[in-house]
Protein backbone atom coordinates (compact mmCIF):
# COMPACT_ATOMS: atom_id res chain seq x y z
CA UNK A 1 0.00 0.00 0.00
CA UNK A 2 2.79 2.43 0.93
CA UNK A 3 4.38 1.80 -2.47
CA UNK A 4 1.07 2.62 -4.17
CA UNK A 5 0.90 5.95 -2.39
CA UNK A 6 4.45 6.77 -3.38
CA UNK A 7 3.52 6.04 -6.99
CA UNK A 8 0.52 8.34 -6.83
CA UNK A 9 2.65 11.13 -5.38
CA UNK A 10 5.55 10.43 -7.75
CA UNK A 11 3.38 10.60 -10.86
CA UNK A 12 3.66 14.39 -10.63
CA UNK A 13 6.75 16.47 -11.40
CA UNK A 14 6.47 18.12 -8.03
CA UNK A 15 5.07 15.86 -5.33
CA UNK A 16 3.77 18.84 -3.38
CA UNK A 17 1.28 19.61 -6.15
CA UNK A 18 -0.73 16.59 -5.02
CA UNK A 19 -3.24 18.17 -2.70
CA UNK A 20 -4.24 16.12 0.34
CA UNK A 21 -7.84 15.90 -0.87
CA UNK A 22 -6.69 14.61 -4.28
CA UNK A 23 -5.21 11.65 -2.46
CA UNK A 24 -8.51 11.06 -0.69
CA UNK A 25 -10.27 11.35 -4.05
CA UNK A 26 -8.11 8.48 -5.31
CA UNK A 27 -9.35 6.39 -2.39
CA UNK A 28 -12.96 6.48 -3.59
CA UNK A 29 -14.16 2.92 -4.04
CA UNK A 30 -11.49 1.58 -1.66
CA UNK A 31 -11.45 0.84 2.02
CA UNK A 32 -10.37 3.72 4.20
CA UNK A 33 -9.61 3.96 7.90
CA UNK A 34 -10.58 7.13 9.78
CA UNK A 35 -9.09 7.84 13.18
CA UNK A 36 -11.35 10.16 15.13
CA UNK A 37 -11.10 12.13 18.31
CA UNK A 38 -12.28 10.33 21.42
CA UNK A 39 -10.85 6.78 21.00
CA UNK A 40 -13.01 5.97 17.98
CA UNK A 41 -11.95 4.57 14.64
CA UNK A 42 -14.09 3.92 11.60
CA UNK A 43 -13.33 1.69 8.65
CA UNK A 44 -15.40 1.57 5.49
CA UNK A 45 -15.52 1.77 1.72
CA UNK A 46 -15.29 5.41 0.69
CA UNK A 47 -18.17 6.35 -1.62
CA UNK A 48 -17.65 10.11 -1.63
CA UNK A 49 -16.78 13.19 0.39
CA UNK A 50 -17.14 16.98 0.37
CA UNK A 51 -14.92 20.00 1.07
CA UNK A 52 -15.18 19.51 4.83
CA UNK A 53 -14.16 15.85 4.38
CA UNK A 54 -17.57 14.71 5.54
CA UNK A 55 -17.52 11.20 4.09
CA UNK A 56 -20.06 8.67 2.89
CA UNK A 57 -18.86 5.20 3.86
CA UNK A 58 -20.26 1.77 3.07
CA UNK A 59 -19.94 -1.56 4.95
CA UNK A 60 -18.75 0.26 8.02
CA UNK A 61 -17.05 -1.01 11.12
CA UNK A 62 -16.92 1.31 14.10
CA UNK A 63 -14.28 0.56 16.71
CA UNK A 64 -14.39 2.07 20.16
CA UNK A 65 -11.41 1.49 22.41
CA UNK A 66 -12.20 1.69 26.09
CA UNK A 67 -10.51 0.53 29.29
CA UNK A 68 -12.55 -2.71 29.07
CA UNK A 69 -11.39 -3.46 25.54
CA UNK A 70 -12.50 -2.81 21.98
CA UNK A 71 -16.14 -2.63 20.96
CA UNK A 72 -17.05 -3.15 17.32
CA UNK A 73 -20.25 -1.97 15.72
CA UNK A 74 -21.24 -2.81 12.14
CA UNK A 75 -23.19 -0.38 10.00
CA UNK A 76 -24.38 -0.37 6.41
CA UNK A 77 -23.88 3.14 5.10
CA UNK A 78 -23.12 6.30 7.02
CA UNK A 79 -22.38 9.97 6.58
CA UNK A 80 -19.42 10.64 8.85
CA UNK A 81 -19.07 14.18 10.16
CA UNK A 82 -15.67 15.48 9.04
CA UNK A 83 -15.17 17.64 12.09
CA UNK A 84 -14.19 14.66 14.24
CA UNK A 85 -11.60 13.21 11.89
CA UNK A 86 -7.99 13.36 13.04
CA UNK A 87 -6.30 11.13 10.44
CA UNK A 88 -7.24 9.09 7.37
CA UNK A 89 -5.36 5.94 6.44
CA UNK A 90 -5.95 4.67 2.89
CA UNK A 91 -6.23 0.90 2.76
CA UNK A 92 -8.28 0.61 5.89
CA UNK A 93 -7.30 -2.55 7.73
CA UNK A 94 -8.60 -0.97 10.92
CA UNK A 95 -7.03 -1.11 14.35
CA UNK A 96 -6.41 -4.87 14.07
CA UNK A 97 -4.26 -4.45 10.98
CA UNK A 98 -2.32 -1.59 12.51
CA UNK A 99 -1.56 -3.62 15.61
CA UNK A 100 -0.29 -6.63 13.62
Amino acid sequence: MAANLANIAGSRANPSTLLPLELIDKCIGSRIHAILRSNKEIVGTLLGFDDYVNMVLDDVREYETTAEGRRVNKLERILLNGSNIVMLVPGGEGPEGAAA
Binding site: L80, N81, S83
Partner: protein
Protein backbone atom coordinates in the same frame (compact mmCIF):
# COMPACT_ATOMS: atom_id res chain seq x y z
CA UNK B 1 -17.56 -6.82 -9.06
CA UNK B 2 -18.87 -3.43 -10.20
CA UNK B 3 -17.69 -0.48 -8.17
CA UNK B 4 -20.52 1.37 -6.42
CA UNK B 5 -21.21 4.81 -7.91
CA UNK B 6 -19.63 7.82 -6.28
CA UNK B 7 -21.97 9.12 -3.59
CA UNK B 8 -21.11 12.45 -2.03
CA UNK B 9 -22.60 13.57 1.28
CA UNK B 10 -25.32 15.65 -0.39
CA UNK B 11 -26.38 12.69 -2.59
CA UNK B 12 -26.58 10.43 0.42
CA UNK B 13 -28.66 12.94 2.37
CA UNK B 14 -31.18 13.18 -0.47
CA UNK B 15 -31.61 9.41 -0.26
CA UNK B 16 -32.20 9.59 3.49
CA UNK B 17 -34.88 12.33 3.57
CA UNK B 18 -38.05 11.06 5.22
CA UNK B 19 -36.46 7.72 6.03
CA UNK B 20 -35.70 6.17 9.42
CA UNK B 21 -32.16 7.06 10.46
CA UNK B 22 -29.74 6.57 13.29
CA UNK B 23 -27.86 9.67 14.42
CA UNK B 24 -24.89 8.97 16.65
CA UNK B 25 -23.46 11.78 18.74
CA UNK B 26 -19.88 12.16 19.94
CA UNK B 27 -21.07 11.36 23.45
CA UNK B 28 -22.09 7.88 22.22
CA UNK B 29 -25.83 8.55 22.52
CA UNK B 30 -27.92 7.33 19.56
CA UNK B 31 -31.07 8.95 18.22
CA UNK B 32 -33.40 6.94 16.01
CA UNK B 33 -36.20 8.64 14.13
CA UNK B 34 -37.51 9.85 10.79
CA UNK B 35 -35.25 12.42 9.16
CA UNK B 36 -37.29 15.59 8.54
CA UNK B 37 -34.43 17.72 7.32
CA UNK B 38 -30.85 18.75 7.78
CA UNK B 39 -28.68 21.79 7.04
CA UNK B 40 -25.04 22.55 6.23
CA UNK B 41 -24.04 22.55 9.89
CA UNK B 42 -25.45 19.02 10.17
CA UNK B 43 -28.17 20.39 12.41
CA UNK B 44 -30.88 17.75 12.18
CA UNK B 45 -34.65 17.70 12.64
CA UNK B 46 -36.09 14.28 13.52
CA UNK B 47 -39.64 13.03 14.02
CA UNK B 48 -40.72 10.19 16.31
CA UNK B 49 -37.34 10.32 17.97
CA UNK B 50 -36.05 7.69 20.37
CA UNK B 51 -32.98 8.28 22.52
CA UNK B 52 -30.72 5.28 23.20
CA UNK B 53 -28.01 5.40 25.85
CA UNK B 54 -25.73 2.34 25.90
CA UNK B 55 -28.19 0.61 23.57
CA UNK B 56 -31.12 1.11 25.95
CA UNK B 57 -34.16 3.23 25.11
CA UNK B 58 -34.13 6.14 27.53
CA UNK B 59 -36.60 8.68 26.19
CA UNK B 60 -38.93 9.58 23.32
CA UNK B 61 -39.50 12.95 21.69
CA UNK B 62 -42.20 13.90 19.16
CA UNK B 63 -39.88 16.20 17.28
CA UNK B 64 -36.26 16.86 18.03
CA UNK B 65 -33.70 19.37 16.85
CA UNK B 66 -30.12 18.15 17.18
CA UNK B 67 -27.30 20.70 17.02
CA UNK B 68 -24.88 19.61 14.29
CA UNK B 69 -21.62 20.00 16.18
CA UNK B 70 -22.57 17.02 18.36
CA UNK B 71 -23.14 14.66 15.42
CA UNK B 72 -20.64 11.88 14.79
CA UNK B 73 -22.51 10.18 11.96
CA UNK B 74 -25.88 9.66 10.31
CA UNK B 75 -26.84 6.23 9.04
CA UNK B 76 -29.88 4.81 7.29
CA UNK B 77 -31.73 2.34 9.48
CA UNK B 78 -33.40 -0.76 8.07
CA UNK B 79 -34.16 -2.19 11.48
CA UNK B 80 -36.67 0.29 12.79
CA UNK B 81 -37.71 -0.91 16.24
Amino acid sequence: MAAPPRTNPSDFLKELAGRPVVVKLNSGVDYRGLLSCLDGYMNIALEQTEEYVNGQLKKKYGDAFIRGNNVLYISGSRTRK
